[in-house]
């Protein structure tokens, strides 16, 4: 059991679970709707990075793939958040 807990994958998993629960609680309960919604989207982007970097193990070589993936993450985050803030203005 303790061997499992020491694994980086396990720690990453615990962070991911915590982040998911946090997103849900924040969105359900927060009165600062705009902030909490934005936080939820950003948390999702961070979770995606964790999954790709630690579960899929996409590192910095070959460089182009990692760059492509980071750009894609930036892209969808910008699109979803951008769209959200446009409706809130």
């Amino acid at each position: 059991m303790s061997a499992l807990l020491r694994l980086p994958a396990t720690r990453v998993w615990l962070v991911l679970i915590a982040a998911a629960v946090l997103s849900w609680t924040v969105s359900e309960n927060s009165t600062a709707v705009k902030i909490s919604t934005s936080a939820v989207v950003l948390i999702a982007a961070l979770k995606v990075r964790l999954i790709v970097i630690h579960f899929m193990e996409l590192r910095w070589r070959p460089r182009p793939w990692r760059i492509l993936f980071e750009l894609w993450t930036l892209g969808f985050t910008a699109i979803i958040l951008g769209g959200y803030w446009m409706t809130e203005l």
């Binding site: 679970i17 630690h54 579960f55 910095w60 070959p62 409706t87």
Partner: protein
Amino acid sequence: MRLDAGEGVLSLTTAPVHAEKDRLPGDPGVWVFITADVFVFGLFFLLFSLGRVAHSALYERSRLVLNPALGLANTLILLTSSWFMVLAASAAREGARRRVMRNLALAMAVGSVFAVTKIIEYTTKIHAGITMLSNEFFTYYFVFTGVHFLHFIIGMVVLMICWRKAKTQPIDGNYVVWIESSGCYWHMVDLLWVILFPMLYLMRAT
């Protein structure tokens, strides 16, 4: 000894292989598949965002019909299944057959609960008269989660194949490539849901 030009890796077909962290995990070809899929979903996110800008009141009204607790449950299920997959892949790199099989079985067992929650979600909506033709939000909800669900089903089949191979074939370099590739596909299924969940269920309008 076998030189496989497809990965540029010299592998001994009977000894375990340690993952090198400076190459694409698994078969590079699977990454073509993953990249293409991920871009199509990027388009889905764009379509949804544009729709939400154009019809924010409709989207918010419709969003309230969804059950975020089920959405959260789905996220936790897939994350956990992915974790077992990571453990299975590292077990494969150490040549540990039984550990590979156990973790794959756990990945599949946990993963299959996703199908249960999804079917519950879909059937409750359809019984309430809500379908993909009800409005634009629900078109996107059913189509995007539906396409995701198809990916999930394919993923479960892939996991089953990995498990069978672990049962009947040596846990060698070849197998490691196979399980890493399958793992990357499964993590993609997980990752796409991690984005769909907040986008569909959690984004609140003021």
